[in-house]
């Protein structure tokens, strides 16, 4: 299958990834991957059972519903690229 420039632009927009000069090479890679993966997309009703509602009857032990990592604004802000006080700073989102 072919992924043209318009489709690539649509994917890049949905994925929020600026492509630039990579676009062509990535499109070829995606075509190759899609061609390989399409083995399961064939229209074969005998291989398409109704989706089951539950994958496994698991009995994994659950932990108590207790928050174990308490909010720590200082630690969280320490990882942010740009802060102002207790805010994370980003470019203006609403145009004037």
């Amino acid at each position: 299958m072919k992924i043209d420039d318009a489709q690539m632009a649509k994917l890049a927009d949905a994925a929020r990834i600026g492509l630039g000069p990579d676009a062509g090479a990535l499109a070829r890679d995606l075509e190759q991957i899609a061609a390989y993966a399409s083995v399961i997309t064939g229209d074969d009703s005998t291989r398409s059972p109704a989706q089951s509602s539950d994958a496994q009857n698991l009995s994994a032990p659950l932990r108590p519903d207790v928050v174990t990592n308490a909010p720590n604004a200082e630690a969280l802000l320490a990882g942010a690229p740009d802060v102002k006080g207790t805010y994370i700073r980003v470019p203006r989102t609403v145009e004037e």
């Binding site: 990834i17 600026g18 083995v39 994994a60 990592n69």
Partner: protein, 487 residues
């Protein structure tokens, strides 16, 4: 006694008996790691200060008579997508360069409580997306068995560190084979536990319905000891064979798995010999066919990439991690950051995941993959009704040369053909050494079991490892790593 050749349990036993001290052991492994990391690039970060502090603290607890796990004081390496408050957690990506986690992953908390000493964070394919540890922002890791070979991936740094004697054991993560395949490439034993049995809290997500943290160590006994700490269920330490009759084990070999054109003859031969050894230990080997093998990797790719495209959306340059410069608008922050912060493979998988989730593609691709996953799971459940374990190779070939598949992503993905099914089906699976090829490169075999049968898998591997010595072989010393040579 070369402590770098000891298993984790052997070291723990010596520390408990006060024949060695935890700080002494930590020092030895830190020094080895620092000396050899320039060649192997197994670590993204060696945690000298915190490791020595932890070792000293554990020794105090031991000296005070506190009862700790058999692994107390034993150093370990941690794959760099598992959050730790020591050092950075980068997932080997520019996107998380320098990121310091404010919390420990649940697995790390449990190991620390048991007295583990984390000596470093290990290299990996970026965000666990890869099978060779060539896709790291920090450069490729080299296989201690052959410096021109890959160690496997994505937990290649962990595998290289343990194989080279730089750490007695390590944690890796496995989404499509990323613990098992590097173990196969580096002559180690490793486990992908039953999905859900080890907490993913603090594991940087790649594909949430497939990811699992697992141990990578020298033998089955070590893996069992590590799992007994990590897992939310009891995993018995394997028992060596006794004269008492053991219940006969039925081990299935799916013939269609052994007829793959891409399966290297040496791999096929060694896994068939493994079956002979297991038969001599009392197991009944039966032939079976597990259908849909040709659908395993396509199904895994579609589901993993779809989930990754969602999980990776959080890396937007806003709250943490890398942010591109010269971003006048918020859209520039997102798009330029993600263009610059992700490597090529991560972008490839995010875009493919986005593709299969587009509204016009959802039914044809993603829904069909989910249905096929159910069928693959049903096929394995059916097979495991008639047997106790399934025996397959870990990967079609031994470790290949660095750069061999870098330009061909599809060739890389095909390497997951034997391992991805256990992730899709949520089943436990373990890899262990079963021989070497003509170049002296390790070959691994895989055992898959029913949900929560880790004890049976590891017990079987322990019996196998009592009867063989492949797992005891060591790679050539670092200054002579021209080609693999079993010792």
């Amino acid at each position: 006694m070369n402590i770098h050749h000891l298993t984790a349990l052997e070291l723990g036993s010596l520390i408990k008996a006060k024949q060695l001290s935890a700080p002494e052991v930590a020092r030895a492994f830190l020094d080895a790691s620092a000396a050899d990391n320039a060649t192997l690039n197994a670590y993204t970060e060696i945690l000298e200060e915190s490791a020595m502090a932890a070792a000293t603290a554990v020794q105090k607890r031991l000296d005070a008579g506190e009862s700790l796990s058999p692994l107390a004081g034993v150093p370990m390496a941690l794959k760099d997508n598992i959050c730790s408050t020591e050092g950075t957690t980068t997932a080997a990506s520019k996107m998380l360069g320098g990121y310091r986690s404010p919390f420990d992953a649940a697995a790390v908390e449990k190991l620390k409580a048991a007295g583990a000493v984390i000596i470093g964070k290990t290299n990996m394919d970026e965000f666990a997306m890869g099978s060779s540890t060539e896709k790291s922002y920090y450069g490729p890791t080299r296989n201690p068995w052959g410096k021109n070979r890959v160690p496997g991936g994505s937990s290649g740094g962990s595998a290289a560190a343990v194989a080279a004697g730089l750490a007695p054991y390590a944690l890796g993560t496995d989404t499509g084979g990323s613990v098992r395949q590097p173990c196969g490439f580096c002559n180690l034993t490793g486990v992908k536990p039953t999905y859900g049995s080890v907490s993913r809290h603090g594991l940087i997500s790649y594909a949430s319905s497939l990811d699992q943290i697992g141990p990578m160590a020298r033998d089955a006994a070590d893996c069992a000891a590590i799992l007994s700490i990590l897992a939310s269920l009891a995993v018995d330490t394997p028992h060596p064979p006794t004269d008492a009759p053991r219940p006969p084990l039925k081990i299935a070999m799916p013939t269609n798995h052994y007829d793959l054109p891409g399966l290297a003859p040496a791999v096929r031969a060694q896994v068939l010999k493994t079956a002979d050894t297991l038969r001599s230990l009392g197991a009944e080997i039966v032939e079976t066919t597990i259908p849909l093998l040709e659908c395993t990797v396509p199904t895994y790719l579609i589901i993993a990439c779809a989930e990754a495209s969602s999980n990776m959306a959080r890396y937007d340059g806003v709250k943490y991690g890398y942010r591109a410069l010269e971003t006048p608008t918020i859209n520039d922050v997102f798009c330029k950051t993600r263009a610059e912060g992700f490597g090529a493979e991560a972008k490839r998988r995010i875009l493919f995941g986005t593709f299969v989730l587009l509204s016009e593609n959802y039914d044809t691709w993603y829904r069909k993959a989910v249905q096929t996953r159910e069928m693959i799971k049903a096929a394995y459940d059916e097979a495991l009704k008639a047997c106790d374990l399934i025996l397959t190779p870990v990967s079609p070939t031994p470790a290949y040369e660095i750069g061999a598949n870098i330009e061909d992503p599809l060739e890389m993905y095909l390497g997951d053909i034997y391992t991805a099914s256990a992730n899709l089906a949520g089943l436990p699976a373990a890899a262990a050494p079963c021989g070497f090829d003509g170049d002296g490169m390790p070959i691994g075999m895989q055992l898959i079991g029913r949900p929560y049968s880790e004890s049976l898998i590891l017990d079987t591997l322990a019996s196998y490892q009592e009867a063989t010595d492949f797992h005891k072989k060591r790679p050539p010393s670092p200054d002579s790593m021209e080609r693999g040579a079993a010792k």
